[in-house]
Structure formats: structure tokens, C-alpha cells
């Protein structure tokens, strides 16, 4: 541009970082309206699903047995399993449709699939976090006893878990437009994980010879470590490994970023898919 004629142009005044923030903020607002705006119950809708799971699991448990599970209250146990799992599930499923359901937005040069993914991820994390911050103190006030074990450890596990979820989500973001059937298949693949990720039983309750068949699942490790970090007196199974979670998170995130980087143009370029 020639020196003296430079007119302040709205479009260029922003640094890349500011642009990134603007875009995620813009998309985030839209996703917020999209997620809650369409139901009359609005913001009540988000906590309803996990609460329903927790209530059903607790009710069943009360029918068959009483007393704590692996040293903590059953309701607290279920709650600490259901919330992270639901986050994992919903991020994967919504990521599959990131590109498809936002074709209109890609009309704006600034918006790329990763922005949509980031906004959706952020939104889901915030929802689960809010639910957790409301739910656990409520349970405590209702008389269920638990105490925080190790805050830093909890923070570490949370970060690793979010890295794992984000990496898988990025892979799904790319997978969705390339393979249409994935939108039907993947939810059915994730559903069985509800039963093998230690949501309603601790790993310690599984017979040792069966444990090997389950410990490949990073979610199981994450859930075990979550409870260990969060609740004093939780009987952690020796198979649960922070090391395993760390490597899973690293591999997942790296793969996600690499796959996205390689395919980022293809998924929004016309004429390459279908």
C-alpha cells in the first residue's frame, strides 16, 4: 500500500490473534444461540441430560446394593463418571457436522472449520464445567460426604483429558465431510463406551484377569484418575496410569492437529469431495 493514502480499514486493523478471538467469539455466540435458543426450556436443557443419567444409575444402584462404591458415595461416583463421558460424547458427535452445518459461514474468509470446532468445544466444556460446579456443591449440601484430594492433580488430569477430547474432536471434524456415513456410525460406536469406561463400576471391581481387556481405553484411565484426584479415600485401581493418559492425550491431539492441517483446505474446497 502506498504511504499517505492509507485509510484505516476496518478489516486490517486487527492482528492475527485479535482476528482469531473475534472469529471464535462470533461463532461461539452463534453456537450458544443454536444450542439453547431452539428449546423453550432454554438453559435448563443442558444439565438435564447428565442429571437424568445420574438419577437413573443411582436408582438402579439403590435397588441392588447399598454403601459406597470404591470408598465414595454412589451418586458422587456416577456424577464424576457421567459428566466427563458426556463431554467426550457430545464433542465427537457435534464435531462430525462442524463443516456440513456451517456451509453458510465459510462464505466469510475468516471462518475455517477449526474455528467452528474451537467454539463448539469451548461451549461444551463450559457447559459441563458449569454443571459440575453447580452439581457437586449441591450434592455436598444434600449430605453426601466427600473431600477434595489433590487440586493440582485434578487440574492436570482435566487438561490431559481435554487434550484427548479435542484431538479426537478435530479428527471427527475432518472425518465428517469426507465420510458421510460416519454421522450415523460413530454415535453407535461411542455408545458402548458408556459400559466399558468405568462410569458405573470402578476398575478395582473388575476381576484382574479381565482388566487387561479394558485398559486400552483412555477414557477409563481418565475417569479413574479424575476420581482419585478429586475425592479423598477413593480406592484407585493400580492399573490406572497417568502416563498412559498423558501419551493418549499427546497422540490424540497431535494426530488431530496434523490431520486437520493436512486436510484443512480440502474440507472446504469445492469439487474435491463427493
Amino acid at each position: 500500500m502506498n504511504g499517505e493514502n492509507v485509510k484505516p480499514v476496518t478489516i486490517r486493523r486487527q492482528s492475527p490473534w485479535q482476528i482469531q478471538c473475534s472469529v471464535i467469539f462470533g461463532v461461539f455466540n452463534r453456537e450458544l444461540a443454536n444450542r439453547f435458543g431452539r428449546f423453550s426450556l432454554g438453559y435448563l436443557w443442558a444439565p438435564l441430560e447428565p442429571l437424568l443419567y445420574i438419577a437413573v444409575l443411582s436408582a438402579i444402584r439403590m435397588q441392588v446394593a447399598s454403601g459406597p462404591i470404591a470408598g465414595i458415595d454412589p451418586v458422587v461416583f456416577f456424577a464424576s463418571g457421567v459428566l466427563p463421558f458426556i463431554l467426550f460424547q457430545i464433542v465427537q458427535i457435534t464435531s462430525l457436522s462442524c463443516v456440513e452445518s456451517n456451509v453458510g459461514l465459510f462464505n466469510y474468509q475468516r471462518v475455517k472449520p477449526a474455528d467452528i470446532f474451537a467454539a463448539r468445544f469451548l461451549l461444551e466444556v463450559l457447559i459441563v464445567l458449569t454443571v459440575a460446579l453447580l452439581l457437586f456443591p449441591s450434592l455436598y449440601l444434600l449430605g453426601m460426604e466427600f473431600a477434595l484430594n489433590d487440586f493440582l492433580y485434578l487440574l492436570g488430569v482435566t487438561v490431559l483429558f481435554l487434550m484427548f477430547v479435542a484431538g479426537m474432536g478435530l479428527i471427527c471434524t475432518v472425518l465428517g465431510p469426507f465420510w458421510n456415513e460416519s454421522k450415523k456410525i460413530l454415535p453407535n460406536v461411542i455408545r458402548p463406551f458408556f459400559f466399558i469406561s468405568g462410569i458405573f463400576f470402578p476398575l478395582a471391581d473388575i476381576p484382574p484377569e479381565l482388566r487387561d481387556k479394558l485398559t486400552w481405553n483412555p477414557l477409563l484411565h481418565a475417569l479413574e484418575l479424575f476420581r482419585h484426584a478429586a475425592f479423598e479415600g477413593y480406592q484407585l485401581s493400580p492399573e490406572a496410569s497417568l502416563n498412559f493418559l498423558f501419551w493418549s492425550a499427546l497422540i490424540s491431539l497431535t494426530t488431530g492437529l496434523v490431520v486437520y492441517r493436512l486436510c484443512r483446505l480440502k474440507i472446504v474446497t469445492s469439487g474435491t469431495i463427493k
Partner: protein, 468 residues
């Protein structure tokens, strides 16, 4: 600076790879408004998308230090279930405008787009023209170096076109346009430089008109009539002294090109109509009616009825077409059918009133018209007929009142002015009567062009919805 280096873009289609551009090298001169022309499917919109950075080439690249708007097209990149306002706010957010600025811009956008209270409705309730106009209005809130305009100027009415032109001119110092349009008139209005995209090649012409002559090499036949055969009959009648305006000429070229395209497609064995078939043929019939080809109009309306025997718009037009062609029996039958399908139809009631009037049944005719005007107070034909009956009943003042009201809402029909002139004369107001006649004649001058514009717009839509 915009330079294009070794750009290749292809689409994968069922029967293999289809290349839009292959190894394109190009440099655009600085600071020009660029008009892009070319046949349908030549890659004009793809080119805009590539420039706008929302689509990517297979190979090669576009180097530029300019900012581009998003392509302003008919679809408008909106989220369908969000309101117009919600969408605009989101897009302002995307471009990092502050809260206060957004508030102010949104009001400007609402005014410029001219969509009124629809601004608060979900975008899915908009017509394509409305969302296109909203997209254009919104883009004016930003200072892009180039506005990429894809057929958008063809969607608005004259008022919107004027506003759009003013908005672009206000930005002319800082911003330029790159524009795709089938309307040569619009291109001439906005652009200096012409780019022709044809057969995978892109040619830059320093002068837009040069590009247009390369695109449409045939001179309009109307200026080159040979003095032989039936043409001799026309010699000296009108063609020599009517100077057909430039815009009319290009309009005529467009209509001809579109008609050719549609007829060619209709002749293909495997053409497909992407909308309601009856509606498609009825619209085509309407176009031929506007082009004065009554026989073809009848033919296509009848075709529409084979897909939907109760299609009211076609029945309506057939009634007036048969009237003009003097086919009394057909008219009667069609009218009866219209009455069966839609007993309260304004045209049906008007025709019935006319019949009664012809049989000197004025009271009955007036009664029918009152029923009609109760439900459709604005119906012009009914108002005009009512005025006529009142006049015949020697209520010239009342007739004048009705007619004047009618003209306030329908100022563009010459016949209504002529009738007004008669009423005025009956009241002894000869000078005003003369002026009404003069007014009718002057409106009549622009009448063919307006009809052609309407026909052209309809044809563009029809052409778009016809695929193979």
C-alpha cells in the same frame, strides 16, 4: 495488486475431472472496477470464490495485498434459522466490530437492505432476493478494498439499485468492485474493465464494451433488417425513427440469449426442472405474454395445466389471452373452470362483472365488484371497472374519485390514465383530460422496457432452475 500464478481449478464430476481453469496466469491493473462476463458454468462464480479466499485452487495461487468482501450472491452466507439481525450481528462480531459500532451499523443495514420488519425474522423466511440484498447491505458496513458482487444487482428493484449504486459510489475512493452479472446494463453502470471467462480462458479487456462485443458478437437483428420479403412491409413504419435505447438493446440481447438457452435446454432429452413444473411453464407463458407472443403464451400455460389442472395463475392468464385472441368459447370454458377452482378469485369476479355489464346488468355487476373489493380492496381491475360503471350511471364525480385513488396505487398503467381523462372531460375539465392522455402516452413510452425487464428477470430465474 492482484496477480494470479499458474492457477488450476477442477471439479470432480461423475464422468471424470472437469477443469474450470488450467495454468492461468494473469495480472489485474490497479484500481479498476472489473466486470466479469461469460456463459453459464464458465467459472465466473468459482473465480470470485477463489479471489475471496473461501475456495482453493488445485494448484497455483492468487497473490494480493488487498482485502476482499465475501462474494455477495443470491444465497447470502446466512444461518437460516437465525434472524436477519442475529446473522448480521454475528458477522459483525466475526469481523471484530465493537458493540456500539455494531448497533449503529445494524440500523444502517436495515435501512439500506429495505427488507423492513423481515430484519427481525429468520432468514429462512426470506426470498433469495431479500437475503441477497441483506448480504449486500451488510457488506457496506465494512471497508473492503474490493467488493465481490455475484449477480446481486439483478435482484433489487429500481430503488434498491439506486441505493446500492450510491453506497458503492460513496466508497469509490477506497473500494472497487469485481462484479459478475448477466446484465450488461449493470456491468456498464459499475465497471470500467471487462474480463471474459470462456472455455477455461480468462481474457482482460481494457474496455468493458470490448469484452461485451467479444462475448455477444452478433449485432441485434433489429438494427439490420434487410429490405426483402415481409421486412419490406415494415419499411418506413417505425424501425427507422424509433431510436432504441442502449439499455433496451442490451436488455433485448439478454432476453434473446436467455430464451435461446432455455429453448435449447428444453429440447434436450434429459432436462430437469428444479421447481414446481406447473409454475415453471406458467412463468414461461407469462414471459411470452410479456413479449407479445400470445400463441406461445397460450401453449405454455396449457402445458402448465397438464401438470396441475387447477393451477390458478395459468387459468387467469389464459382467460385474458383467449380474450385477446378472440377465442370466445375457450375463454368461457376456462373462466368457468377458474370459477370452480377458485370461486372468490378476483379475475373471475371481474370477468363475471364484465359479462353482466355487457348484458346491461349494471346493478349485478356492481354487486359482484363490491364483493370482490371487500376482500381485495386494492384490486386494480375491479376498481377501474367500478369507476367505469359509476361513470355510465352518471356519477362522474364518484367515478373520478375511485379512478384517482386507483392511480395513486397503480401509477404505471397507461389505460387507467386514459380512463381518468374521459371522466375529467365529462366534467368539463378538458385541459386536465388532455394532460391525463399525455401522461398515459409518456408512461407508454417506457412500458415495453419495463415489460422486458420483468421478462428478463423471470427468464434468469427460469434459466437457473432448468438443468440437465
Amino acid at each position: 495488486m492482484i496477480s494470479i500464478e499458474k492457477l488450476t481449478k477442477s471439479y470432480r464430476l461423475k464422468d471424470g475431472r472437469h477443469y474450470v481453469f488450467r495454468d492461468l496466469d494473469l495480472h489485474f491493473p490497479e484500481g479498476a472496477n472489473i466486470g466479469i462476463i461469460g456463459p453459464n458454468g464458465a467459472g465466473k462464480s468459482t473465480f470470485l470464490r477463489l479471489l475471496g479466499g473461501i475456495d482453493y485452487p488445485d494448484r497455483g495461487r492468487i497473490r494480493t495485498d488487498k482485502s476482499f468482501s465475501w462474494p455477495l450472491g443470491l444465497q447470502g452466507g446466512f444461518v437460516r434459522h437465525m434472524t436477519g439481525r442475529g446473522n448480521c450481528r454475528m458477522i459483525c462480531n466475526l469481523y471484530g466490530l465493537g458493540r456500539e459500532v455494531i448497533k449503529e451499523k445494524l440500523e444502517l443495514v436495515k435501512t439500506l437492505s429495505g427488507i423492513g420488519h423481515y430484519f427481525e425474522e429468520p432468514v429462512q423466511t426470506y426470498s433469495s432476493g431479500m437475503s441477497g440484498r441483506l448480504g449486500f447491505a451488510l457488506s457496506m458496513a465494512f471497508d473492503f478494498d474490493y467488493f465481490l458482487i455475484d449477480e446481486i444487482t439483478s435482484v433489487g428493484d429500481a430503488h434498491f439499485k439506486k441505493l446500492a449504486k450510491e453506497a458503492l459510489e460513496a466508497k469509490a475512493l477506497s473500494s472497487k468492485v469485481i462484479m459478475v452479472s448477466h446484465s450488461m446494463a449493470d456491468l456498464r453502470r459499475f465497471c470500467d474493465l471487462g474480463v471474459l471467462i470462456k472455455d477455461g480462458k480468462l481474457t482482460v479487456y481494457e474496455d468493458l464494451d470490448e469484452a461485451i462485443t467479444h462475448y455477444l458478437p452478433e449485432k441485434p437483428k433489429i438494427t439490420t433488417i434487410a429490405a426483402s420479403g415481409p421486412e419490406r412491409d415494415l419499411q418506413g413504419l417505425f424501425l427507422d425513427d424509433v431510436e432504441i435505447s442502449r439499455s433496451m438493446n442490451s436488455l433485448w440481447q439478454e432476453v434473446e440469449a436467455l430464451l435461446l438457452s432455455i429453448n435449447q435446454k428444453l429440447a434436450l432429452p434429459n432436462f430437469r426442472i428444479e421447481e414446481n413444473k406447473a409454475g415453471f411453464y406458467a412463468q414461461l407463458g407469462t414471459v411470452y405474454n410479456q413479449l407479445n407472443d400470445l400463441k406461445k403464451a397460450v401453449q405454455f400455460h396449457l402445458k402448465a395445466l397438464t401438470f396441475n389442472p387447477d393451477f390458478v395463475p395459468s387459468l387467469q392468464q389464459l382467460v385474458s389471452l383467449y380474450e385477446q385472441l378472440g377465442r370466445k368459447e375457450d375463454k368461457k370454458q376456462t373462466l368457468e373452470k377458474l370459477g370452480r377452482v377458485a370461486p372468490g378469485n378476483p379475475q373471475y369476479l371481474t370477468e363475471k362483472a364484465k359479462e353482466n355489464l355487457a348484458a346491461e346488468n349494471r346493478e349485478e355487476a356492481l354487486r359482484l365488484l363490491e364483493i370482490l373489493l371487500d376482500n381485495h380492496p386494492e384490486n386494480p381491475e375491479a376498481q377501474s371497472l367500478k369507476a367505469k360503471i359509476l361513470f355510465e350511471q352518471n356519477h362522474a364525480e364518484a367515478a373520478l374519485h375511485v379512478q384517482a385513488n386507483l392511480l395513486k396505487t397503480n401509477p404505471e398503467t397507461p389505460a387507467f390514465y386514459l380512463q381518468l381523462g374521459k371522466f375529467l372531460a365529462a366534467l368539463g375539465r378538458y385541459k386536465e383530460s388532455l394532460m391525463a392522455e399525455w401522461k398515459a402516452a409518456s408512461i407508454g413510452l417506457s412500458f415495453p422496457e419495463k415489460k422486458y425487464q420483468m421478462a428478463c428477470r423471470t427468464l434468469e430465474n427460469l434459466d437457473r432452475s432448468l438443468t440437465f
